[in-house]
């Protein structure tokens, strides 16, 4: 199939990198571009879900996308019956997740769906506060239920209690049912995740478009600042660190926090004094829930939360303690931020005519009413719930290691969640039999093969999009949840055809200001250690917990993300220039390049480049 103008590469023409043959076997068949749907699949747009899954999807972690494949899309298609949209499809190419929206254009079909949508969505909007309060209850209950699930290795001998209590079933049965409960629990949270999200984003999108129609030059960032909550819980983990830093200085243990690298050493040193103990007690109080704060987007088990790895929060604490000692006030200037938000809103309202202002006010009020959900669900779902969830899976991994099925607990992530059933069942069979089973050998070999494939896939650079884009991207879920719109598509198309290496890199202007500096390309949170003060962070996408480095960087540039993405929010908070959604920034920029980042226009310009490795033509 020839590639005409305005098309991305055909998904069927993408080659598997050498050494990754057979990657398809890690995923369910319906994730693979197969011949059965070829005519359909190669003629539509597929965009890379860099925002949530910047790295190859681990077979187990695929349950996160699979959960929304069902929950989000059920809401769109069957619950709300959004008049203009069906579900968003998913495929995997060389390990990377691609998505494709489906729109309804037939006026009859749209009209047929409209009354249901209007009635049901209206019910939610009109009862929003009550439903949201109830949502918080449901989410918290779900998280509490998750905490109760545990996985214990099977003992050599079934515990005495089974007999004395006449249970009838065994701990092996508990293990299997616990795993079912774990999956059900995660699936339940996935439904809660999307119960209110589409509608909330929809209200925001409408206000954004209203503003753009009256003020064509208004930037998304300004609209976001008029709507964004000031006191949202997503800022709490960082706020708690700032508070703890102040407390450490008060108690006179600031030097202990600054004096060691390893969190374990710091904790040991603090335990040596009464003041240190007092501070540690404070820390313990804060940990649940605020340290259930993932270092990633919350979709990959590899992004550990602060609760599991204290290095990121302790590293931030060192910095915060030093700032407190210099006399800085670390508290967020809430009153100032609030006044700034009102000043912007008043400023724009005052420019409108009298007959236009009421719609502005009412849409702004509705956006502000629904937006706490958008901001807060992130903590409940992606951070709090998912961090605990992945730890539970790791616990199960230990059980399978103990049962001799896996080499190490992390192996479990190379199994699809339904393969885990098979492995678990076989482990129980072996336990029941008292003699080895074949799978104890075959699964280890299979996981070793998958690890080799995965490490090859990690080095592959997924194109931002594949296939044929529609004339216009208007499907509201794509626009709001995934930040893909006409401009994004055009920019990617332009980037794909551009061969001139001197071209600027273009993205969305996410946080105003201009900064120049040396680029540091960072793919993973662990690489943040290398970052030097004042450097420009160039990354696939930042997670909220990366916010602790934002105090040190000069500007942020991310491949993915939208105007409400973490990098954008945190950059505005730190008043740093940020350009998001460049699509290919991490592929074009090299660490050491000097860049100018213009957060007003969304343009990143090269001031100088380090030498590129020679490209060999095969």
């Amino acid at each position: 199939m020839s590639e005409g103008r305005g098309m991305f590469r055909n998904p069927y023409d993408i080659e598997t990198p050498a050494g990754a043959d057979g990657w398809e076997s890690m995923y369910p068949g319906y994730f693979i571009f197969g011949d059965e749907l070829r005519d359909r699949d190669e003629s539509k747009l597929w965009f890379f879900d860099q925002m949530h899954n910047p790295e190859p999807v681990y077979p187990f972690d695929l349950m996160m996308p699979e959960s929304w494949l069902v929950s989000l899309n059920q809401y769109t298609t069957r619950v709300w019956r959004l008049p203009t949209a069906l579900g968003i499809e998913q495929r995997i190419v060389n390990g990377y997740l691609y998505l494709s929206p489906n729109v309804i254009e037939d006026p009859t079909a749209i009209a047929e769906r409209a009354p249901t949508f209007d009635r049901r969505a209206r019910h939610y909007f009109e009862n929003w506060d009550e439903i949201y309060a109830n949502w918080v209850e449901k989410a918290t209950t779900c998280i509490e239920a998750l905490k109760q699930i545990s996985f214990q290795p099977l003992a050599e001998v079934e515990p005495e209690a089974t007999v004395l209590e006449h249970r009838g079933t065994t701990t092996a049965f508990d293990l299997l049912t616990s795993y079912s409960r774990l999956l059900e629990n995660a699936h339940e949270m996935a439904y809660f995740h999307f119960e209110m999200l589409n509608l909330a984003y929809g209200a925001y999108l409408t206000f954004l478009e209203f503003c753009r129609s009256h003020f064509p030059a208004i930037t998304d960032d300004l609209v976001a600042r008029m709507v964004a909550g000031i006191d949202v819980i997503l800022y709490r983990p960082d706020a708690e660190l700032r508070r703890l830093a102040g407390r450490a200085v008060e108690l006179g243990v600031g030097d202990v926090l600054k004096g060691h690298e390893e969190p374990a050493e710091i904790v040991a040193a603090l335990e040596g004094s009464a003041a240190g103990k007092e501070w540690l007690e404070d820390l313990e109080q804060v940990k649940d829930p605020w340290f259930y704060y993932s270092t990633g987007a919350g979709y990959c088990h590899a992004n550990r939360a602060w609760i599991d790895d204290l290095r990121p929060p302790f590293s931030a604490l060192r910095d915060y303690v030093a700032r407190v000692e210099r006399g800085e006030d670390l508290a967020r200037p809430i009153a100032h931020l609030r006044a700034e938000r009102e000043r912007l809103a008043d400023g724009y309202r005052d420019l409108l005519d009298d007959d236009e202002a009421p719609a502005f006010d009412s849409l702004l009020a509705l956006s502000r009413q629904v937006f706490p959900f958008v901001e807060n669900h992130n903590f409940y779902v992606e951070h709090w719930h998912h961090s605990i969830f992945f730890n539970k899976v790791r616990e199960l991994g230990e059980v399978l290691v103990a049962a001799g099925m896996l080499e190490q607990s992390d192996d479990i992530y190379f199994l699809h969640r339904y393969e885990v059933y098979a492995v678990l069942y076989e482990a129980e069979a072996a336990w029941a039999l008292g003699v080895p089973t074949r799978g104890q050998l075959t699964w280890r070999a299979e996981i070793a093969r998958r690890r080799r494939i995965y490490s090859v896939l990690e080095t592959w650079s997924p194109p931002p999009a594949l296939g044929v884009p529609p004339e216009k991207v208007t499907e509201p879920i794509t626009v709001t949840l995934f930040g893909i719109n006409n401009e994004t598509i055009n920019r990617w198309l332009a980037a794909e055809s551009a061969s001139d290496a001197d071209d600027d890199l273009r993205g969305l202007a996410a946080s105003p200001g201009v900064a120049e500096g040396v680029a540091r390309v960072v793919h993973r949170v662990e690489e943040l250690d290398a970052l030097e003060d004042g450097e420009i962070l160039v990354c696939p996408l930042t997670a909220p917990s990366w916010s602790i480095v934002f105090a040190r960087i000069g500007a942020a540039v991310s491949d993915g993300g939208g105007i409400m993405s973490h990098a954008a929010i945190v950059s505005r908070e730190y008043e740093l220039p940020a350009v998001v959604a460049t699509g290919i920034g991490t592929q074009l920029v090299m660490t050491g390049d000097r860049l100018r980042v213009d957060g007003n226009t969304g343009v990143v310009t090269w001031l100088s480049r380090v030498e590129r490795p020679a490209v060999t033509v095969p």
Partner: protein
């Protein structure tokens, strides 16, 4: 156009009306007597802007002159000339020197919000001395009688008899930098922007489209400069040393590559735009200059030179958002209405 500038006047020029008016007295209801330019200047003064000293020769004087010519008179009748000289002398006295002025026609058909024929009338720069001033006022009157102007008026179905022109005599600013600004985006109609064009020397280079000025877009709400585009400014018009002539000089390459105005000036211009929009009304086209007058060459300052309503509202139809916010959102999500204009 709100308020001051657009009001239709009930006052008609007549030979009995005053020959000369103080510019600050030129309000909208006097537009047919003093013309749009004088009304604009008057509103700048009343808004507290820094405006070069000036006076206005009314359309009544023009009508008197026209009648005199019809009756076979030559030159400017003495009673008109005396009044103009008196006003000029008062101007010189106030500034304590022989003031160099610009003499501009202020037409009663020009600058009105539905008929933009700016530039059809005359401007003379670098005029000084009683005789020259009176002579230049007469040249403005003569050019108003010129056939091509009459043709334009006929096309607009206005007759010369009931209109006439006024003439503004204003101390000339020796501008180092000058330009125009629009208090809404000229292309998109975006009301949150002030678009500034600036170049070196007298503003005529910008107004007349002789150079590509530096372009700036300022956000009224945030105060931020959202866009800067460097222009092409190979030459500038400056006053000669004696102030009596305008000379065109080449701009050296370094200055061509530099911005003609800096952030401080942009801030001051934004403030001027805000003040004028709140005192006069929204949607203004403002001429400004930075420089000194010969009567006070001690330092350069920012002057407001002219204001007029933007004649065409190019805004495309914005979202018609009626009903409750929930109705609006449901319409958007339901595909019933996609509020990007032009879609």
């Amino acid at each position: 156009m709100e308020a001051d500038l657009a009001e239709r006047s009930a006052v008609s020029p007549s030979p009995k009306a005053p020959v000369v008016l103080a510019t600050e007295e030129c309000t909208a209801e006097l537009v047919t007597v003093v013309g749009g330019k004088a009304v604009g200047l008057g509103s700048l003064i009343r808004s507290g802007q820094n405006v070069p000293a000036s006076f206005v020769v009314s359309a009544s004087a023009y009508l008197g002159y026209a009648a005199w010519r019809n009756d076979g008179g030559e030159g400017v009748p003495a009673e008109l000339a005396d009044e103009i000289v008196l006003a000029y002398q008062q101007l010189c006295q106030r500034q304590q020197s022989e003031v160099v002025v610009a003499v501009r026609s202020s037409a009663t058909v020009e600058d009105s919000s539905d008929s933009s024929c700016a530039g059809q009338f005359s401007t003379y720069l670098g005029v000084s001395g009683d005789t020259d001033v009176v002579g230049t006022v007469e040249r403005c009157w003569l050019s108003a009688l010129a056939p091509h102007v009459s043709a334009y008026r006929e096309a607009r179905q206005l007759s010369a008899e009931d209109q006439g022109i006024a003439v503004v005599v204003q101390e000339l600013v020796d501008a180092q930098t000058a330009g125009v600004m629009f208090t809404r985006h000229p292309r998109t109609g975006d009301r949150s922007l002030v678009v500034v064009e600036a170049s070196y020397g007298l503003g005529e280079a910008v107004v007349g489209g002789e150079v590509i000025p530096d372009l700036f877009e300022l956000n009224k709400v945030t105060g931020r400069v959202q866009e800067r585009v460097l222009g092409s400014k190979p030459f500038e018009h400056r006053l000669s040393a004696d102030g009596r002539a305008v000379e065109t000089e080449a701009v050296d390459p370094d200055r061509q590559r530099a911005w003609s105005i800096g952030d401080e000036t942009l801030e001051a211009l934004l403030e001027m735009a805000r003040q004028l929009e709140s005192s006069i009304g929204r949607g203004l086209d403002i001429e400004w200059a930075i420089g000194s007058t010969r009567s006070d060459s001690s330092g350069s300052e920012l002057f407001a030179l002219q204001v007029r309503p933007i004649t065409v509202d190019r805004r495309s139809a914005p979202l018609v958002a009626s009903g409750s916010p929930v109705d609006i959102v449901l319409r958007r999500l339901g595909g019933g209405h996609h509020p990007h204009h032009g879609e």
